[in-house]
Amino acid sequence: MTITATPISKQFTGNQVVSLDTIPLSNVEVTRDSFKGKIDPDWCPGCGDFGVLTAMQKALSELGKQPHQVITISGIGCSSNLPGFINTYGMHTLHGRALAVATGMKMANHEMTVMVTGGDGDGFGIGGNHLMHTMRRNVDLTYVVMDNQIYGLTTGQTSPTSRLGHQTKSTPEGNIENPINPVPLAMVGGATFVARAFSGQQAHLVDILKQAINHTGFSIVDVFSPCVTYNKDNTYKWFKSRVRKLEDENHDPTDFHAALDKGYEWGEEIPIGVFWKREDLPALHQLEPVLDEGGPLAYRNLGLSKEQSDQLMSEMM
């Protein structure tokens, strides 16, 4: 085979970076601005997602991450446009598939900080199966759901978190399906860090995102992020008068039953904060012997030694 395309590099045969840590860093200090993306967000003015973006940029910079060490992976939706607005590596994948892509990414380069962003439809609707399995695998991702209880980008249909009775374009006479409650679901599903936050409460959100990013294992932050255009039920005002910080009431995030009960509270008061956290379960990449040494898989040499291939061949003789 001769490939006559443009000049081509050859196999890496040595001299490889085996660890991201060995790459010399820029000496420019990392600030929130370091994480400003190439283009300005095109969300509707007032959209809750602005607050989430800002909080992510703050959290990453306050943690001292370098932009090139981070990758933000999303599905499809208004919220899923976020990777375009933040200066990290990014992937804008398929509707519902961000967690699967992110798992591949994390396993292939476990030294990257992998953020996953998206909407309630993306994550709990079409993406539900990947969510369940990514949680039980405890993949070391930080999953930020911009939960607006609606399908925004497709102009306002019911979502798995839309309340009973919610009138939307697909349920003009009111939704009759019980919504998902992401907090208890994530707890039982196996997430090792489960939090809820509100885009309208920046400092709290930043704090939670920092904890989530620092957590080794699967962390999920369900952020109320109002869709000002299509959801007239779950507005800023609606949330503002309801949210109550768990941090203010000595909630013990290692108390499973208490966390569940608080997770289910949904009425005049809605708790936000870190519901549940466990540190005793290793993350998937920590359990993979293949990653014990040698740095990210993605940077390793390809091909087999003669010894290795002879061994494989002899098994077939």
């Binding site: 085979m1 001769t2 490939i3 006559t4 395309a5 443009t6 000049p7 081509i8 590099s9 050859k10 196999q11 890496f12 490889q16 970076v17 991201l20 860093l25 820029s26 420019v28 190439k38 090139h68 060490q69 990758i71 992976i73 499809i76 446009n81 375009g84 990290t88 590596y89 990014g90 992937m91 804008h92 994948t93 398929l94 598939r97 699967a100 892509v101 591949g104 990414m105 396993m107 292939a108 380069n109 990257m112 199966n129 990947h130 293949v290 040698g294 898989l297 993605a298 940077y299 040499n301 390809l302 091909g303 087999l304 003669k306 290795q308 291939s309 494989l312 061949m313 077939m316 003789m317």
Partner: protein
């Protein structure tokens, strides 16, 4: 480059025999089958084995055919020389098709032959007496008897028993050895051996299934990430790689479903790994959206579709070539891809590194079409045929330490704006930085995007930019046709007919052509198509234009290949040989078809499968 395989085999053939073992699923046909295959291959005999079985764990009928010769064996053949019947059902089903001069081996206490055809040697065995207390060793007796009749030394069997049973302890080995000896002697004393003896050649061969070959090829290609969801008949690839993964630093993930698989593979490939999966048609259906994404992201991935009989769940344990149009139409919209259909186990092995080089260089998905016949089927491979240290060409990639040409980052430093992931280059290929490289931050987007990766719909949807990007991606492929081997006419150019096929039908066509010549003095040649996309339109057209009669051979109902050939070249074949009953072609099916077609009896010949499994 794939090494040319020896395709004209008849002249140096001195022996050619087939052993079948039939019984119920769960009766352990695999072990004696394996023992025989390994013994044959170690002697240097070529072989080809096909197991006709059912989507059932127990109880279904299983019928394994091992055909061996001192020249290459490319298919299961037409006739059996020895049949080992492990149950009455096998005897009843197949005794009638045994030819003159063949033998049938069975436990006389359990099985009764009815209506034995003339000239078939019945070889009843007093299994109970021969095995003594080791009741598990019945199959060992049968193997010993077969070997004796083939003139193969008992030592070969002793070696094999040692290898297979050593894990179970010396006692088991010894007991089996003794029983084998008794069976061997019993055969010598009671049955006629064959008129020929299986020779011992100078060079031992390897025995592989196509799935193992795919796994081996993936390892040779440097695959570091393999994800899959089990699906017959592709699961063998997962199992092979899983067995060797830890030792070789390969990560294997069994995922929740095929959608997750392909998306995970895209994620790992985007990170910079060579990443791969294998599935069958139903799993591939679920992957198509993500395959299209890999086209849009320009992230190279490799996926094998091991075809089985469809539609829907179909017949999971039966073969077919029915996914061609599914592969061609995979995912919405237009995007560049490679589609290749190897012709044999060895070809699968060697094609995988090649396909990875192509997908890395052209930054697009690479799809391989095989089928149950060659992927679960076993064949011997000359170790020298397999290139374990293939050239690895990753195309224009930028790793944290630069690329090999530059040895540092071509765009250097921390100026992410200077780097355009989707630069509208002349070749259409844009240098690909993997995540983690300073100064190369970008978004890979499944929405249409501009050169720097920003979504076109995030600024203003722009028909001119959209057109530019569609053309950029398409332009990449302009040179691809030169990167894949053109098909060659096999045989003489002035034949009365040309057999045209793709993928697994190669082997049976080769042999049918030899038979037509040697038995019927009918000269037929073959055009075998391996590369489906890109398609060598000019080469194929010029070859077929001078064909006297084009006969397309394919293993599906609707003539998917015939229609594809026509869509690319306009050529309408003169006649068709098709099969869609779940079983592969046997050489005589093709021979009969060619004769019926040349005799003007039909334009569409559909053979009837005689072996009922």
């Amino acid at each position: 480059m794939t090494k040319p395989q020896n395709v004209s085999v008849d002249n140096k053939r001195t022996v050619d025999f087939a052993v079948a073992i039939g019984g119920a699923a769960g009766q352990g046909i695999a072990t004696p089958g394996n023992i025989l295959a390994r013994i044959f291959a170690r002697r240097g005999l070529h072989l080809n084995a096909y197991n006709a079985y059912q989507s059932l764990i127990r109880g279904g009928h299983t019928f394994l055919t091992i055909r061996a010769s001192d020249a290459p064996v490319l298919n299961m053949g037409d006739a059996l020389d020895v049949m080992v019947a492990l149950n009455q059902d096998t005897m009843d089903r197949h005794l009638g098709i045994m030819p003159v001069g063949s033998s049938v081996i069975y436990d006389e206490a359990k099985i009764t032959p009815n209506d034995t055809p003339d000239g078939v040697q019945l070889c009843p065995l007093p299994i109970k007496e021969l095995v003594g207390r080791n009741k598990l060793a019945a199959n060992t007796v049968a193997v010993a008897v077969v070997l004796n009749m083939l003139g193969i030394e008992l030592d070969d069997l002793a070696d094999a028993l040692e290898r297979i049973f050593s894990r179970k302890g010396a006692e088991v080995v010894e007991s089996n050895r003794e029983i084998a000896e008794r069976g061997y002697e019993y055969a010598a004393a009671n049955f006629d051996a064959f008129t020929f003896a299986a020779p011992r050649l100078s060079k031992g061969l390897a025995v592989v299934t196509g799935n193992e070959a795919a796994g081996m090829g993936a390892l040779a290609a440097g695959v570091k990430f393999y994800a899959a969801y089990p699906m017959s008949p592709s699961t063998g690839v997962l199992m092979y790689i899983a067995q060797h993964a830890r030792k070789l630093g390969v990560m294997v993930r069994q995922v929740e479903d095929e959608i997750g698989v392909m998306n995970m593979v895209v994620g790992a490939a985007h990170a910079g790994c060579r990443a791969m999966t294998a599935t069958s048609g139903g799993g591939f259906a679920l992957m198509t959206e993500a395959v299209g994404m890999s086209g849009m992201l320009e992230t190279p991935v490799v996926c094998i579709d091991v075809q089985r009989a469809g539609p829907a769940t179909g017949v999971p344990t039966k073969t077919e070539q029915g996914d061609l149009w599914q592969i061609l139409g995979a995912g919405q919209g237009d995007y560049p891809k490679f589609v290749v259909a190897p012709r044999s186990q060895a070809d699968i092995f060697n094609t995988i590194p090649e396909l990875f080089n192509l997908t890395d260089c052209y930054q697009c998905p690479g799809l391989m079409l095989t089928d149950l016949l060659i992927s679960e089927g076993t064949a011997t491979v000359d170790p020298d045929e397999l290139d374990w240290q293939p050239n690895i060409n990753r195309g224009e990639m930028i790793f944290p330490n630069g690329d090999v040409n530059a040895n540092d980052n071509p765009y250097g430093g921390y100026n992410d704006d200077a780097y355009l992931r989707y630069e509208n280059t002349e070749s259409g290929i844009s240098p690909r930085a993997v995540p983690g490289v300073p100064g190369h931050i970008h978004v890979a987007a499944s929405d249409e995007h501009d050169e720097d990766g920003t979504l076109i719909s995030d600024e203003f949807t722009n028909p001119h930019k959209r057109r530019m990007m569609v053309e950029k991606r398409a332009r990449k492929m302009e040179t691809s046709i030169d990167a894949v081997e053109p098909p060659q006419l096999i045989g003489v150019s002035d034949a009365v007919a040309t057999l045209v096929g793709f993928g697994s039908t190669w082997g049976v066509n080769v042999e049918a052509i030899e038979k037509l010549e040697s038995v019927d003095e009918i000269i037929v040649n073959q055009l075998h198509i391996k590369w489906i996309v890109p398609f060598h339109v000019d080469v194929v057209t010029s070859i077929l234009e001078s064909s006297n009669k084009i006969i397309i051979v394919e293993n599906n109902y609707s003539g998917q290949f015939a229609r594809y050939l026509r869509s690319e070249t306009g050529i309408k074949a003169d006649a068709f040989i098709r099969k869609y009953d779940g079983e592969p072609f046997m050489p005589h099916h093709i021979v009969d078809g060619v004769k019926a077609i040349l005799g003007g009896e039909t334009e569409l010949y559909v053979p009837t499968h005689e072996i009922m499994v």
